[in-house]
């Protein structure tokens, strides 16, 4: 049966865009979890029409289809269970940056960082910044409703999705949403596809809301704690304060141990963990806001707090944070990346 499917898919997509060798199937058998299943065949459509053809072949042969972008997800959403692995990375064109309406229309396979940079060059801002932004695709971000540290302030990917083009299992090409901020007419089908992990249809195009650039001054608060309960209380207090940071990251003593050589002087040795807060604001307001957040952290028992406005010191801090993940991966026996979400009040315990 697989031979027939491969033949039919090749007739439509071209021979190079349909792979069935064991090596190719293994390549598209996993994502960033430890889940893995071989697909029977791997296809690379170049257009919405080709996606429709793939679904038509799948329908005719009653074979499941598993859409994916770069496979950086942490939930198994792009892991196939046999069938067709449908890889969207060839559909990687930014179709339109509409400055007047502050939106971008892109194919699902566009790399997130590529969109971020293109938009920035035009004086606008695409806030979602998942950890995998340099590799992940917008379509994957939509399918997983990707977050990232900035989602603390800016929300997850879904908040920026104004509309979608989706190919349904029966071949229907559905267009959802609109191009206005207050787009409240009719059922919100867009949100139904966001986070659905490819199970409801294949997202081929995405219309994204853009924002003006954030205020230009950047500050970083580094707060260290002797115990994790106090650190947890600080997260709740920072989240509820009017000066709430733009993003918030936590590192514990085990993480600090593996990057000891890069530990910045703002984090004293031997602490249980530290919070790194990014604050974006106007130059006039930055120092006052960092001071307010310092007080919040001291109020819940931080053993050391530094508000940094100096660019060099901030670079050191965030370089340490970025070095963490590869450094942890280097120690044995393995690294498990979780993408946990808990209610604020459950953090201190």
């Amino acid at each position: 049966m697989t031979d027939a499917i491969v033949r039919e898919l090749r007739a439509v997509l071209g021979p190079d865009q349909v792979l069935a060798s064991p090596a190719d199937r293994v390549t598209y058998s996993y994502d960033a979890t430890y889940l893995s299943h071989l697909p029977d065949v791997v296809v690379f459509p170049a257009s919405t029409e080709q996606v429709r053809h793939v679904l038509a072949v799948a329908r005719a042969h009653r074979v499941p289809v598993f859409p994916r972008g770069s496979g950086t997800g942490l939930s198994g959403g792009s892991v196939p269970l046999g069938g067709i692995a449908l890889v969207m990375t060839r559909m990687n064109r930014i179709l339109e940056i509409d400055r007047d309406n502050m939106l971008a229309r892109v194919q699902a396979g566009v790399i997130t960082a590529h969109l971020q940079e293109t938009v920035r060059a035009q004086g606008l801002f695409y806030p979602p910044d998942p950890g995998s932004a340099r590799i992940s695709t917008i379509g994957g971000n939509v399918a997983e409703n990707a977050g990232g540290p900035r989602s603390f302030h800016y929300g997850t990917t879904g908040r920026y999705v104004l509309g979608l083009e989706v190919v349904l299992a029966d071949g229907t090409v559905l267009k959802t949403g609109g191009m206005t901020t207050k787009n409240v007419t009719g059922y919100d089908l867009t949100s139904l596809f966001v986070g659905s992990e490819g199970t409801l249809g294949i997202v081929t195009e995405v219309t994204l809301r853009l924002l003006p650039p954030p205020p230009p001054a950047r500050g970083t608060l580094v707060a260290s704690f002797a115990d994790l309960t106090a650190l947890g209380r600080a997260i709740g207090a920072l989240a509820a304060h009017p000066a709430r940071p733009t993003s918030l990251e936590m590192v514990d003593r085990h993480c600090l141990a593996v990057v000891e050589a890069h530990r910045p002087p703002e984090i004293p040795p031997g602490v249980a963990g530290a919070l790194l807060c990014e604050v974006l604001d106007w130059p006039e307001a930055l120092a006052g806001r960092l001071r307010a957040l310092e007080e919040v952290c001291r109020g819940v028992g931080a053993v050391a707090v530094s508000g940094l406005a100096d660019a060099g010191a901030q670079r050191r801090i965030w370089a340490m944070r970025e070095a963490l993940s590869p450094a942890v991966a280097r120690i044995k026996p393995t690294k498990i990346s979780e993408d946990a979400t808990v209610p604020i009040a459950a953090i201190p315990a």
Copy 2:
């Protein structure tokens, strides 16, 4: 048939909570549009269980049900077409303000302003502020995905809905969503009910995300224009600027004419219209931000621009804006309130 329905409904809800006189039916026959249709009967359930009973009676008699709050909507979402007008205003309890998790759990009939004030008293902030906030219910805000001037910055009601309790037509009580900011597991059924105007089920309880209070300093920018095209261009330029205001209102020459006695000195006589922008920020940053927005407006040809930080001057401006709607209603022959949404680039033309 109506007699039997009224009898069954009274048996469950009590005789005072089921109204069928002509006057009562007229009272619940309209919303803030000019649409109007008489319901056959009006019911006031006091609990989710009573809502289920109403739906059971409706099901047994194959009679349609039209849920409503205070009826301030501008889309006809709560106008009945015969059948049962189900009025949610008795389910008006704030069930929980969870400060640690920054959320509120409320019954659908809670008045929006009541929630705003209760939350503010606890040092938190519920951003949605539809024009009808002093009358409208949270359930109605959810059903219509209500906006208001602050939605320019804070988004519409839906952004704050974390979860819902909904009674479906078959009597099922569905609980959607969760209590975390990044709540991305499973299909987003919550968003499907938001904006569905009561057509998919009866929302009985709403869990809302709260924010920290906004920065404490308030400024207002008043920019006047000799023609509406320039005013429209200013809206686009303000929306795309990093100093983007928190809310934005426009008044044209016809509106200004009816409140001429209250026209503030910042708006010169004879202009085509004016923009009122609210800016919330830290005291240190306010003046600079107002200046930046002033420059934006001058750059597109404003004939007068004032950045106001003085509380008295701001009160005058916003009092004028609030006087507009009743003042317009007083002139003949009638007033039509539209709730239009257009793409930014379509505004200047």
